[in-house]
């Protein structure tokens, strides 16, 4: 990899030049000890900033880590060093002859976001992720921080006093003092190891200026301050300096992955609720059971699953598109799930949640088929179809999916408990409507033709008809439906 060769050749020179004798003397600035950088070259994110500059982002292993104190407080009695993610970004210079590295540190602020840390990168903050992103220069000067709520940048943080921030942010800014902590890998005295993690904690109180909004491109045109100290002018066309081996690159704002592209507000909120509910633990039954269906997709980090709505084929509730689209901006493959506008207008929330989970399983099976076609799971699926004489992939999926019915039912039950707003629905009802899309496939001589798995697992015809009718009730939001209108 070219970036690796460049880094090995230049890593010892990547320091900001000293700027005055008292540069490091200001008590308000934060300059961390210089941590040795050991990028993990095996896995990397490759993407582009909006202006076309290429970025490689890699995991960065450090024996020593830096945390805002509030982050430690958010996860009491947990080893926060295992929760945060620390990456190094190599931003290709416009001249094409070097890379300008920055350090990105990601700190989740809640349990959901903690579960979405895998695969996080500067251009792909999960849309429901909340926490803080801190960007440091390569030699550990704090550059900028972002406070993110549900994937949106709500505030931008710079270390130092307000007067050192660019004038255009004044008026929307506030100054705070806060504690930051960093750890060294070797055990210290008990007083410096309050959590008993076998590491030494160092603590410092710093001043921060927090401004509303994203501040736009960083650094903006004008004077750039690092840790509250003048660094150099940006936007003059003469950035950099003769003695600089390392130039802080201009960066765009962190980018979110917008998987939820639903324009129907009700459906959009159900999608969000299912995402959030996916990490909830059951309050009854198996304490450790999570919402397995949505978890399937959340763990499939190599792909993005996009959810949209449109006018699709007559009668269809939703479709999952097996054609995998490679998004050159994110560098990820995408699988798309499309809901029908007419269906979203007419179905209950429960039906829509059910349909999402159904399509999510299609998407997951497609993902497995693509990512590991010769793996035992996919071969098992193929053999299952062949041994049962199914030639149509839709039929294979729908018969195979019967084994997920209870997982769908459980996910629906959990979702309804937290968000559905409908009480007094028997637990079994959620399992029954989970057969939606897996029950009838045709009609002949006025009689339903059932999917084999449905027929095998629900042996009595009158029961099949009753279950199928329940699915229809929710689909149409008729008088018999137990769910509420969307």
């Amino acid at each position: 990899m070219k970036v690796r060769e460049w880094f090995e050749e230049n890593k010892t020179n990547l320091r900001l030049p000293e700027r005055g004798s008292n540069y490091r003397a200001d008590a308000q600035e934060l300059i961390l000890p210089f941590f040795e950088k050991e990028p993990d070259w095996d896995k990397f994110h490759h993407y582009f900033f909006p202006d076309g500059r290429e970025v490689y982002e890699l995991s960065l292993e450090n024996a020593e880590k830096y945390f805002p104190k509030s982050f430690i407080d958010s996860f009491p009695n947990q080893d926060v060093s295992k929760i945060m993610i620390q990456n190094i970004m190599f931003i290709k210079n416009s001249n094409g002859d070097r890379f300008d590295p920055l350090i990105a540190r990601y700190y989740p602020s809640d349990e959901y976001s903690k579960n979405k840390m895998k695969g996080i990168a500067y251009n792909r903050i999960n849309e429901y992720w909340s926490g803080r992103v801190d960007i440091f220069t390569y030699d550990e000067h704090h550059f900028v921080g972002f406070l993110v709520n549900d994937g949106k940048i709500e505030e931008t943080v710079r270390y130092g006093q307000e007067e050192n921030i660019n004038a255009r942010t004044l008026g929307d800014c506030r100054s705070v003092t806060r504690e930051v902590v960093w750890t060294s890998g070797s055990p210290g005295p008990i007083s410096e190891d309050p959590l008993g993690l076998g590491v030494t904690f160092h603590s410092i109180i710093i001043a921060e200026t927090i401004c509303t909004g994203s501040m736009g491109e960083l650094p903006p045109t004008g004077t750039l301050y690092i840790d509250g100290e003048y660094y150099y002018e940006f936007g003059t066309g003469n950035e950099g300096c003769s003695d600089c081996n390392y130039i802080i690159p201009i960066i765009s704002n962190p980018g979110s992955i917008i998987l939820n592209q639903l324009t129907n507000p009700c459906a959009s909120s159900i999608f969000k609720q299912l995402m959030k509910a996916s990490i909830l633990k059951s309050s009854i039954g198996n304490q450790n059971q999570t919402n397995a269906v949505v978890q399937l997709l959340q763990n499939a980090n190599e792909f993005d699953f996009i959810v949209q709505n449109s006018n699709i084929a007559s009668g269809a509730n939703a479709q999952t598109i097996p054609g995998i689209f490679f998004n050159t901006q994110t560098g990820k493959n995408e699988v798309t799930i499309v809901f029908d506008n007419d269906y979203l207008e007419n179905a209950t929330k429960l039906s829509i949640a059910r349909t999402f989970l159904h399509e999510a399983i299609h998407a997951y099976l497609l993902y497995i088929g693509y990512i590991d076609p010769a793996g035992s799971f996919n071969l098992g699926l193929v053999n299952y179809g062949a041994s049962n004489g199914y030639t149509n992939a839709n039929e294979i999926h729908h018969n195979f999916m019967a084994q997920y019915v209870q997982a769908i039912g459980y996910s629906l039950f959990t979702w309804n408990n937290y968000y559905g707003g409908t009480s007094n629905i028997p637990r079994s009802y959620f399992d029954e409507i989970s057969w939606g899309g897996l029950s009838a496939k045709d009609i002949q001589n006025g009689q339903y033709v059932w999917y084999d798995s449905f027929k095998a697992l629900i042996e009595v015809e009158s029961e099949r008809l009753r279950v199928h009718q329940n699915i229809t009730n929710e689909n149409d939001d008729n008088d018999q439906a137990k769910g509420t209108p969307c």
Partner: protein, 187 residues
């Protein structure tokens, strides 16, 4: 590309356009409705949606994206290559067809079986115990050995279950023969 080559391409392009337009005159005898009528002859009464379905949903917005060879899919068994059928000029023509405005609805008067259309009632567009179909407006082009080829998307839905296929037909003598089919949507 040289100026001479560009001019040559333009002239050929216009020529092919004229030829295509020559047999693309609107009406029952157009190759598009010839293919539509071939498809609907096997459908039940009151089962075909009047509106054509768009190609955008499946990201078929260029010849390249339409070519099955360039699509990644977990199901594709055959790496079918449209380039083996269409030459450069024909590909250009398909590109133009894809970007041009197409009919939004089936013209009932051009159908050989007029009772095949599904009478939509109100905003609900499905009925229980009935299989419903939706098709795209066909893309027609001459191709290999001067055969006529047709590309169409067809969706088949029964209540809450359904799927959509990309279908490629070739006209042999007087009939359309299905030469490629690929699952592109599952419900």
């Amino acid at each position: 590309m040289t100026m001479t080559k560009q001019k040559e391409l333009l002239v050929n392009f216009l020529f092919i356009g004229l030829i295509v337009c020559g047999f693309q005159l609107k009406g029952k005898n157009s190759p598009e409705y010839d293919l539509i009528n071939h498809i609907v002859c096997s459908l039940d009464e009151n089962s075909l949606r009047r509106e054509f379905m768009g190609l955008e949903l499946y990201k078929y917005n260029s010849y390249k994206s339409l070519n099955p060879k360039n699509r990644i899919s977990a199901f594709k068994k055959v790496n079918f290559d449209l380039d083996s059928i269409f030459n450069e000029l024909q590909r250009e023509q398909i590109e133009v067809t894809l970007s041009s405005k197409k009919s939004s609805e089936i013209e009932k008067k051009y159908l050989s079986r007029k009772n095949v259309l599904f009478p939509q009632n109100g905003k609900k567009d499905y009925v229980l115990k009935k299989k419903l179909y939706t098709i795209s407006y066909p893309i027609i082009s001459k191709g290999l050995n001067d055969h006529l080829y047709g590309i169409v998307i067809k969706s088949e839905v029964f209540e809450f279950d359904g799927f959509t296929n990309l279908k490629i037909y070739r006209k042999d003598s007087d009939t359309w023969k299905l030469i490629y089919e690929e699952l592109i949507g599952m419900s």
